[in-house]
């Protein structure tokens, strides 16, 4: 894992790394990847991945609209800066 690859992944994850982090990351991530390599020793031909437990069924519910006051809505959204009840963000384009 090279520094360039780390930089690319960090950008995808929208994380700015400082110089020290960028220097240490390749070795740290590489040591974990190296440890994980042993998974390739296991023959998993014909094994179904365990994405969820069979006894558990998804609970569904009606999608109903509820009206809440502006203040509650802002708190639920965790809105930081706002202007005239709208969340203010930096320019997108």
């Amino acid at each position: 894992m090279h520094k360039k690859e780390i930089e690319r992944l960090a950008f995808f994850a929208r994380i700015k790394l400082d110089r020290e982090e960028l220097n240490n990351a390749p070795q740290e991530i590489q040591s974990i990847l190296h440890y994980i390599q042993k998974l390739s020793d296991v023959d998993t031909e014909g094994v179904d991945p365990l994405f969820h437990f069979p006894e558990l069924e998804n609970i569904t519910r009606e999608d109903t609209a509820e009206t809440v006051d502006r203040e509650t809505q802002k708190r639920m959204m965790g809105m930081g800066k706002d202007k005239d009840d709208y969340l203010r963000v930096e320019s997108i384009l």
Binding site: I6, K16, S31, K38, F53, E55, L56, I59, G78
Partner: protein, 459 residues
């Protein structure tokens, strides 16, 4: 003091609820400066308790709650700078249930940032210390709650467990920690780490208290779509205890091995039958966990952009929204969180998804199958909880892999969704050693029954 002892004292009017809460608050005042177990303390709880009724199951019980579980109108940081000023707008389902059950809250417990760590050294608000030896870690990630229970700051605590985060700190602090079957306790209002592993559970003075809290908080909840009311009520008369040989090989320290072997021979001398079993894929559990956990972490952390939920580092200096995200997340997250998000981003990226994520989920299936086969022969499985005694602060923080190895015996229960409890089984060098008992999915009743007997045997 246990919940039961507290309730008896209150009923006999030896102490008033107000006096009791105030004694916990003064203990906190006296000790928290040294241990940093709590990130916030609710001094005003003293004025809120008048409506608590005697017939409620948690009547009088005083709780500390890990700081990734939402209590309405209180700060909830998850141990992270990015949530430093976040105030919870609602109660988590488990908090609602405890309130209805008569429990009260005295504070929020310190933790590794977003529950990522095994020592509470990754907290953005400074490490917590083990109350039994202040030079040592209390374990993690629920280090603050486990330390608080051990140190007499509360009767009981709530933690969360993704790869051992309730059990490992409970073992390090000499208390009981219980991770329920995946799907039995609602995570609504609990800050997510790795959603296919996360469970909330109690940290307590004894098994009886852990069971009492579990009975109040468990059950189906429409706000957590994978919850269930399933529960097995059958406890067999004759119990067979399996000891997996793979848990006694590389990595386990001599101190732990000797203490656990002593504890097992005491169990063998009791009414239980002890047999050796094999869980052949054990050595692949931690690497499989690393991949799945990091992948789910990278997805769950995406919601923290510094614009919602509080902190706004880059603003208003950011040139664009993208620049703002990069700065907010770069400065708001700590080292360990960033490492795991980057690793997860890598594991889920095109071309690597099958080789890492799907492969790890297949190995997860093999591990679950190992347990299924074992439980055809035995009723519970007994293992060490941790490979070492509580380590010194600073000892492992610079080496992420060696820190992750601290979870080697606990991650299997999360991979297979099993219920697992840790309880003290002895001491070495003045430090506690925890034993872990695992049962079949939804067989908590068997687990509690066996744990209560072992508790007596090991006392």
């Amino acid at each position: 003091m246990t919940i039961k002892e507290t309730q008896e004292k209150l009923k006999r009017k030896e102490i008033s609820h107000r006096e009791m809460v105030s004694s916990f608050l003064s203990r906190i005042k006296e000790r928290n400066e040294k241990t940093n177990s709590l990130l916030s303390v609710f001094e005003d709880v003293i004025d809120k308790e008048s409506s608590v009724k005697e017939d409620l199951p948690l009547y009088g019980a005083v709780f500390v709650v890990k700081d990734n579980i939402l209590i309405k109108d209180e700060r909830c940081t998850s141990g992270s700078k990015i949530l430093e000023h976040y105030v919870a707008p609602f109660d988590a389902t488990v908090i609602e249930k405890i309130k209805e059950g008569g429990g009260v809250f005295v504070g929020k417990g310190n933790m590794d940032e977003f529950a990522m760590g095994s020592s509470t050294e990754n907290s953005a608000f400074g490490p917590a210390r083990n109350p039994l030896d202040l030079e040592r870690v209390p374990g993690g990630s629920s280090g603050g709650p486990a330390a608080a229970v051990s140190d007499g700051m509360c009767n009981v605590a709530l933690g969360s467990d993704t790869g051992g985060s309730i059990r490992q700190p409970s073992a390090f602090c000499g208390v009981v920690g219980f991770k329920p079957t995946y799907g039995t306790v609602s995570r609504s209002g609990v800050i997510a780490m790795a959603s296919s592993f996360d469970q909330v559970g109690p940290i307590a003075k004894n098994v009886e208290d852990a069971e009492l809290v579990f009975k109040v908080i468990h059950g189906k909840d429409v706000l957590d779509s994978v919850t269930s009311d399933l529960v097995s009520k059958v406890v067999k008369k004759k119990i067979r205890v399996g000891v997996p040989k793979e848990y006694f090989v590389e990595g386990i320290s001599k101190d732990i091995k000797e203490t656990i072997e002593g504890a097992i021979s005491k169990v063998d001398a009791s009414e239980f039958e002890v047999v050796e079993i094999s869980l052949p894929h054990t050595e692949y559990a931690l690497p499989a966990y690393e991949i799945i956990m990091a992948s789910e972490v990278s997805a769950n952390m995406a919601r923290y952009d510094g614009i919602r939920y509080g902190l706004e580092f880059g603003r208003p200096a950011a040139k664009s929204i993208q620049d703002a995200y990069l700065k907010n997340r770069g400065e708001g997250f700590g080292k360990e969180v960033k490492r795991r998000v980057i690793l997860g981003t890598y594991a889920l990226s095109a071309g690597y998804y099958d080789a890492y994520y799907v492969k790890a989920q297949k190995i997860r299936a093999l591990i679950a199958e190992d347990f299924k086969k074992a439980f055809a022969k035995v009723d519970v499985i007994l293992t060490p909880t941790t490979p070492t005694l509580p380590f010194k602060i600073g000892e492992k923080i610079e080496d992420p892999l060696s820190m992750h190895l601290s979870d080697i015996f606990t991650v299997t229960a999360n991979l297979a969704g099993l219920p697992a409890i840790t309880l003290p089984c002895g001491e070495k060098k003045g430090l506690p050693v925890g034993a872990q008992i695992l049962a079949k999915r939804f067989h908590e009743d068997t687990l509690f029954a066996v744990a209560k007997k072992c508790e007596k045997i090991w006392k």
